[in-house]
Symmetry: C2
Subunit: 448 residues, 2 copies
């Protein structure tokens, strides 16, 4: 294959990404907690040759800071934990990648390295870890803290966390386990490496009690777009999931991050940049607009406001008129890049609070495309061919219907244009993404 092709993940979420998705007639309202729902969707996505399914996560109930009137109208209070769900999905799929978000803020690197190594073996090399820091204050209260770590400390911890995790994945040489029944030697004594990490946040001896992952490491995904987030990604990420509103912003981000790779001895193709996209697709533009409007009409104002408030780091908007402008807000300790993006969006398009929550009710700050299949395909192609994206994290408005629409209407056009695969390139997520299998630090010295 000579032509560069799109990488596409199916970002799955309960009954769909739109905040009112669960109320839609075609959405499965109890989807978040029904294995049959995700099994069907993952198998559908695999038939369509998606690179991976992708799951976000938070170790707290959604909207814990919101008024209960809003919280009780959201489908986010009840859903599977991603590692368990993806492990189950590994048993009913064969090719599709399995990417789970897990925070570095409230976990231990040994547990995390072990679970992802285990998932990688269970799936024959299809695991990916979306490394995040916790921007949700409600999580702190579930882990014996009064407040979560400051933004800089979270990244500091994340930097050390990932070094420990990758070190643990290198515990064993790829050919360590000889299992020679005759001699009784199970592994080569010189093929195991103790990490003996001593750092500011962690002391971890190792080795891991799982063989080196099938992929060497599970694929490392990151979502941070703040300054420390971009720097961490440039050093360690292989996929970036980012929220970009315009082609120009996406191009600037793409150039910025890819430009940072060289100082870590990396080449641009070692990091795939996948903006999120929320596609509402119709056979015509009008049909798409009607679909979108039908979802928008289902949003309760309390839910819209709570969603916005949460994404602004817990800002209290209750005293401001819905049809007035977004007030100036103090900087919070939440996720920086998302707050910045929303404030910019409101300013740029002169949106009221209500208009702003309606604008993000589907895509939560990611690119929203409402149009005919050709229009949606054109946009994806424009970003892909103009140095704004290596592919996309596709966020279906409803599930399973919204994903079916994208597969049935948009994918055939992308394939016709040679922009998306018709068969998997191999068996592992790395092979789908075109990422090399990393060498073990202990057995393959890098030649400078």
């Amino acid at each position: 294959m000579s032509q560069r092709q799109l990488k596409l993940n199916a970002f799955l979420m309960t009954a769909g990404h739109h905040v009112a998705a669960w109320r839609h007639p075609q959405a499965r309202a109890d989807g978040g907690i029904q294995f049959a729902h995700f099994k069907q969707i993952a198998q559908t996505a695999e038939r369509a040759k998606f690179d991976a399914v992708f799951f976000a996560d938070s170790a707290a109930v959604w909207g814990a800071g919101a008024e209960q009137e809003a919280q009780s109208r959201s489908a986010q209070a009840d859903h599977f934990e991603p590692i368990t769900l993806l492990s189950a999905l590994s048993a009913v799929t064969d090719h599709i990648g399995l990417i789970a978000t897990v925070t570095t803020t409230y976990n231990e690197p040994y547990h995390l390295a072990r679970k992802f190594a285990s998932l990688d073996h269970l799936s024959g090399g299809r695991a990916g870890w979306n490394l995040v820091t916790s921007a949700n204050a409600a999580e702190a209260f579930n882990f014996s803290r009064e407040a979560h770590l400051a933004h800089a400390d979270r990244y500091n911890r994340a930097e050390e966390f990932i070094d420990v995790v990758i070190g643990l994945w290198d515990s064993w040489d790829d050919d360590a386990f000889v299992r020679d029944k005759q001699s009784g030697r199970f592994f080569k004594p010189d093929a195991v490496h103790r990490l003996d990490h001593q750092g500011k946040h962690f002391s971890v001896r190792g080795p891991l009690n799982v063989a080196r992952p099938v992929q060497g490491y599970p694929v490392i995904v990151q979502a941070g777009s703040s300054e420390p987030g971009k720097e961490l990604a440039a050093r360690t990420a292989e996929v970036i999931f980012t929220a970009q509103q315009t082609l120009a912003d996406a191009q600037a981000f793409y150039r910025d991050v890819k430009g940072r790779l060289a100082r870590y001895g990396r080449t641009p193709d070692q990091l795939k940049i996948l903006p999120g996209v929320f596609p509402v697709v119709g056979r015509t533009r009008e049909e798409a607009q009607e679909k979108y409007q039908a979802l928008q009409d289902l949003i309760h104002p309390a839910v819209g406001l709570a969603l916005l408030s949460g994404m602004l780091g817990g800002a209290d908007l209750s005293g401001y008129p819905l049809d007035g402008p977004l007030p100036d807000l103090p900087e919070s300790n939440g996720g920086k890049s998302r707050q910045h993006l929303l404030v910019e969006l409101a300013r740029r398009d002169k949106l009221t609070i209500r208009e702003l929550y309606l604008r993000i009710a589907g895509a939560r700050g990611h690119l929203t495309l409402v149009g005919s299949a050709v229009e949606v395909a054109d946009q994806l192609q424009a970003w892909f061919e103009n140095d704004a994206a290596d592919g996309f994290n596709v966020m279906p408005p409803t599930l399973p219907g919204g994903l079916d629409d994208f597969i049935e209407l948009v994918l055939p056009i992308l394939r016709e244009r040679g922009l998306f695969r018709t068969e998997y390139e191999g068996n592992t997520l790395r092979e789908s993404l075109g990422l090399a299998r990393p060498a073990n630090r202990y057995t393959h010295k890098v030649v400078a």
Copy 2:
């Protein structure tokens, strides 16, 4: 069904329980890390109507304190993490219970409550949690500690841990999620309960972001047989996995623990006591003895000694002759009851160090039965009918062969005697075990 019947778990471990199992011609040497291996075994156990598959765990590589000569001859260095493995198995089985061991010493109750709730939903109500405290010093070093907590502190933490976990499982009323598309109400606002736990070890606000488990709670299993272990079990356990060497000891343990239940307002049938049993079964006693001897002959002395040393809490036996007696050992900070059991066993049977490690090389202190199918069935029946056991945690010497032997040779005899089910009683692990679904503390007040 009027007759009381045996409860049987299949305790699975890499290539089998015998320390040299992986070297046996009929064992799958790489079984610990092959999903196909466990899928086949779990489906076999389900066809045989076992109550559950059961997995032990340690968050450290086996034998970290042992000399590498021993460690590199053990199959325990490379195996799946149990939560991920059982999640995957949930997708390829329908009735069999899924019990995973997870330590309370190096975990957070919110993560644990969430993962087991998720597994219970994934499996339609088949999850069980074997609650342990970490007796393995090597684990501490993987979690930023210089040494693990003292025995009393570990139990203190475990006591608080389980209260938090059960509290989190009660976060939602059973009928909380109404998902009314028309009104837009996803859950009943008064059906969610914040835990607001403030304790010595943990502060956890809650609620959990998963609906109440299908079983109310996953089944609580415990293995501690020390004084605080028995007391914790009497208060909270529904199944006890215990190591007992003789009928008399097992009866004393059974009487002791069941006798403690009343002071927690519980009845004897609310706690099932399942001693471990390591069955080497033949068509004749001679065939069984040959099978056993074949396994014993595969034990490398370094492996036997390391196994024994590890089970004695890391005791250094290197200076003592293999064919001399077990020396007096200082009390360690490891698992108390197992150390005590081994010292007693050596004294009672006047065993040398070598004889002692040979004695525990299969069952690690659990009951070893080597005999014809009728002899093994007779023993199980005798324990079952004489207040020593409600069933057994069956530890196959090799996998898959050792489990097949038990199923093909012993189960038909137990069934003939009416001692084991021919069909599952229901769909959940609680229904198999004959345990009631616990009420939610917030919605059903206990009437004193």
